[in-house]
Amino acid sequence: MNTQVRQLADGKVGVVAVEGEIDFSVLPQMREALDEANAFEPTSLLVDLTNVTFIASDGLGVLIEAHRRADDVGRKFDLVHPQPHILGILRQTQLTKLFRVFESIDDAMADDA
């Protein structure tokens, strides 16, 4: 798994782009990337799942933790463009009730505007 953290909209939006499999072995790396993005103190944090090919329940747990932490400080936390298998897991676990899921980063940013 690889992660890339970047800022958009003059730092108002933090993006964590994840590539590969989010399994048990990469949870610390996921948390580290989310911490890095939170350190910028954006008003909105997006996790770009476009290139994620696998996620298990512990990976979902890291996203839920990140959502809770964002909520605690009034920061928006949304998911972007999960592939069908990943979206299927989010729907199966009904986490689509917790997370907002956008088709693209532009869509997510437009919603925040």
Partner: protein, 136 residues
Amino acid sequence: MQDSHEIVIPSTPSGRQQAEDIIMKKVDEFGFSEEARFSIRLAMEEAVVNAIKHGNRFDKDKKVTIRYGFNGRTFTLSVRDEGQGFDPGGVPDPTAPENITLPYGRGLMLMNAYMDRVEFSPAGNEVTLVKTTGED
């Protein structure tokens, strides 16, 4: 299981990774659909991580025994830990409103959703997962 194998791993992330890599290579050779492959990968991850984390509680002296095999179009995987076992009927519904924000408790649900059959031993320390490919 006509073609059965056994892997015994320590309760460590690296042991899990090696076992899953070996088994998925066999699954790929067997020619499951992409959807079935994803289901097996997911359910196996949940079962093995549960065994290491909740069953053996990361005790490196305790082992996880993984048996798997193919019979016709059916893949069977069993994962046994050396823990106390648990009652799968006692696991709270992770989709209930009071549980939806909990960062844990979805592994069993995913196993049930993505495999054709999920059975626990009476002691609750072994789970058997079955998936049949829809392709001839």
